[in-house]
């Protein structure tokens, strides 16, 4: 009986610890979402898997400035989170938010470009990290009443274009992940 109880306790502890260990050893995406939630006191909305898959399948192309129409993110690689109809007010402390974001993503991720317009409560942060012979790009876009966090895997040539025109490409990656083709 004692052994069974111990075993059950161990199983329960293991079951409880699994989600936490996944979060603790996070890969940056969840940490970025959590940082937004904590700083702005907002809550992200989950998108049902099927709806998300439908959106990704529908969106097939994005314009690379000066080039041909082509898909930016590798198929099936997009992770995203939306914040809709909420208030993003940095209370004059937008620099602290930028620093928090940099702190949670430091190490693996490198910030390429961060643009802030506090009076309009608009921000765009683009981070990148190596993923084998490809790259993960994390694009965080915040406006006064909505925000998007998108992580996508991109090929080196897409990264090169991103580095050449960080703002334009960051927007294209977010558009590709979130816009439905007509």
């Amino acid at each position: 009986m004692k052994t069974k109880l111990t075993l059950a306790g161990l199983m329960l502890a293991l079951a409880c610890s699994l989600p936490f260990s996944t979060q603790a050893g996070g890969d940056g995406f969840n940490e970025a979402v959590k940082t937004i939630e904590q700083f702005y006191h907002v809550k992200h909305q989950s998108i049902p898997f099927l709806a998300r898959a439908g959106m990704k399948a529908a969106r097939t192309a994005a314009k690379v400035r000066g080039g041909d129409w082509k898909r930016l993110a590798e198929a099936g690689s997009v992770r995203m989170v939306f914040f809709e109809d909420q208030t993003f007010d940095s209370r004059g402390q937008i620099a602290s938010f930028k620093a928090s974001l940099q702190r949670v993503l430091s190490g693996e991720w490198s910030a390429i470009t961060q643009t802030l317009a506090p009076k309009d409560e608009e921000q765009c942060h683009i981070f990148v990290r190596a993923a084998g012979n490809k790259f993960h790009v994390l694009v965080i876009t915040i406006e006064r009443h909505e925000a998007t966090v998108v992580q996508a895997t991109v090929a080196p040539d897409v990264l090169a274009q991103l580095l050449k025109d960080p703002e334009g490409m960051g927007k294209s990656i977010t558009d590709e992940a979130t816009t439905r083709d007509p």
């Binding site: 004059g92 390429i112 802030l116 090169a160 050449k164």
Partner: protein, 192 residues
Amino acid sequence: MKILFQTLLKIVPVILLLLLGSVITATAQNAKLELDQLDALANRASETVDVKLDEHLIQITSKLFGKDPDEAEIRDLLKKLKGIYVKSFSFAKENEYSPAEIESVLAQLRTGGWSKIVGVTSKKEGENVDVYVMSVGDQVSGLAVVCLDPKEITIVNVVGPIDLDKLSELEGSFGVPDLDIARPKTKKDKEN
């Protein structure tokens, strides 16, 4: 004893070369300015742009340039660079920042091997532009452009061998803004 002496003769030049290499590397690293202390200005600025491209990212980019002949020149330039860093703050009203707030950057440019290029001006009215280079012998190891306007601060720091003319090739790309710099006239220009 003779063998030991011969071995030393072979090893010493290698050690000296290694030391020289590490000194050059250290100097190139010094051409990177500390700019993060300016971030507090972001709370007051109407717009802030912060671009950081380190050597690794630049090398990835340079490898993918060059298929187009027009881009070959940029590829060759990028190959040698170790970093491109840009910080820009725009303010809604004039004098929303004080000179003391950018002193930490200017202090770095007054020391540490930087020298100001004389005669560089801005084509934009009311804007002061100062261009600084860091050199190791004949080789430029870094460039810094400080543009100060009553409503704007822009600092561009390129680490690696680059001159003012080549900087113009980067303007509009890689987060480097259009600087509108009027270069100092060379002897050749004056003759024409």
